[in-house]
Symmetry: C2
Subunit: 83 residues, 2 copies
């Protein structure tokens, strides 16, 4: 069975996000002054081949832990859909 | 009213995604050989202050078009929630 995984990897809330801060300031300079709290992370989409949804989720979590997210600085969330 | 916007900015399907390709290969090297079609983009979360949800969406789209996404190479999708 094929599954599509969508993974968001975001900087932890406790940490500064200098890229988000810079974009926040740029948006204000462009006149969009009602926008705040900009935070920027990664969005990863991938396709998995697994017998069950549980196994697909396990595999996606393993990919996040081993490679996609750095747990010292980032948190990830994961959604899976059949596809 | 405050709204939280979540924006995904992904490389267009027609374009190569060298970063995704590199991660795909690395996942295979780590033993996760059932993962394919890795594509990597940006996830942006931000907070908007707007009188209605429509106006909040309009503002978020403007931010995407003016700064967050490069339409030549990227597509964005947008979800809004009251917060």
């Amino acid at each position: 069975m094929k599954y599509n995984a969508h993974i968001n990897v975001m900087p932890l809330k406790e940490l500064l996000d200098p890229q988000g801060k810079a974009v926040n300031n740029s948006l204000h300079n462009l006149g969009l002054t009602n926008i705040n709290d900009v935070r920027i992370g990664k969005h990863i989409s991938l396709q998995l081949e697994a017998p069950t949804k549980d196994e697909a989720e396990k595999m996606a979590r393993e990919a996040c832990k081993k490679l996609l997210a750095n747990p010292v600085m980032e948190a990830f969330d994961l959604t899976l859909a059949e596809g």
